[in-house]
Symmetry: C2
Subunit: 280 residues, 2 copies
Amino acid sequence: MADAVVVACCQLAPRIGELEANRALAHDAVVDAADRGARVVVLPELMNSGYVFEGPDEAAGLAEALDGPTVTDWVALASEHALVVVGGVCERDVEGGILRNTAVIVDPSGLRAVYRKAHLWDREGHVFCAGDGPPPVADTVYGRIGVVVCYDLEFPEWMRLPALAGAELVCAPVNWPRESRPAGERPQEVVRVQASASVNRMFIAVADRVGRERGVDWVGGSVIVDPAGFPLVGPAGDEETVTVLASCELAQAREKRISPHNDVFADRRPDLYGAVANTS
Amino acid sequence: MADAVVVACCQLAPRIGELEANRALAHDAVVDAADRGARVVVLPELMNSGYVFEGPDEAAGLAEALDGPTVTDWVALASEHALVVVGGVCERDVEGGILRNTAVIVDPSGLRAVYRKAHLWDREGHVFCAGDGPPPVADTVYGRIGVVVCYDLEFPEWMRLPALAGAELVCAPVNWPRESRPAGERPQEVVRVQASASVNRMFIAVADRVGRERGVDWVGGSVIVDPAGFPLVGPAGDEETVTVLASCELAQAREKRISPHNDVFADRRPDLYGAVANTS
């Protein structure tokens, strides 16, 4: 396991509007994860702001640019502790004067990748502009790391893009609103992550939030899944503030063969995937 | 539940090369399922022949045309019991003089759809020619029913095709070779079926086989999953010959909205799915 890296997902409870407190919460969680050996740390979606905005005006008042204090702190932490940090921010996109539901990948060299969530959930469309760019993949000292945000995970075509670009690990900051499910069943959000990991033979690390916010509860369910689709740790509980950690040999994700004659990428038949099904 | 239909998946133990016995096994299982109220009956992959061929010659000796005794019997059963039957056959494709790993949809009016497995598993490529046609969807008296075969389930792009064509239920004859998995974990094959059902908001019904064959064991795990991705029945055990049944209100699968502002089809961004991920 010479090439193994410890990945941590920090399941935190940000509070809507409390920018400084949320920044401190993230800061302390990253330091704690680093102290416990983590070298890749994933934080939830919209970590700086909270999620359940009353509307676009409230979100605009909480948004910050990518050179603002949140990302700046993550870059400093990455440098000080030799980390990759992946987390979500409520972003004021200075180019367009618009708001974005954004996630960044930072490493000791600085801001490596910016991703604007492309599939918006529920009322997010009233607040954020969806991104048009594919999930980025950064070649870091710990491996090739991609990022998506929350509802993006429900579009398998989208998960293919970082996979085909060579991502060994896809990090997913999420805020998963909790829905009811049959007793004994894993949250469907986690099931979909497992399936995406296994069909792409890559690791996926998800950091969800907890803490009821304006009537919304959350799945929790932070999880690190291996390329076979099984959780290495988690899913976490739906109320606990917790950091889940797992040692991941990311190079395992370069192996796409799953039988003497099968390879999950080579076996794809993309020329047929634009077909229209025959109906009779 | 006026429009509910009982779907049955018959988890059987065919034996390699025993054509008549296998046909009788399928026949009796279909009659039994019909007696228990089923109107859609799913049978395993390669039901007529068994799976673990010594090579193409053995398979060729077992293959039959679509007007052969197996499909003819299923058509007769469908007519007699007012059924839709979906099952797998080792097919001699009379047009090409080649072998196909095929599944058919039959209903009381006869053979409604023919599907040749497009993604071949392991040594199947030495025996069968892969199909080039998308999964068909048949508009039956019980609903819109599609079909895929086994390894096809691992390609989410493929599952989209019948979903987008309006399939309310996709039936999947499979032969899932058993692999080890962590204690307490569901087979990854089942997890992927759950994810495909939920991202497409459709029912999926899987009939696997059991019965060790030339050293190969099987997952079993026959299952009927609802559009939320949860099993209505199953997964079955890995040794039991059993028919699992569930009442399915197939019209539920026409509802693709999952929040006041989300629709799993309308939220897709297919123009972006051909993108190449940014790497840095």
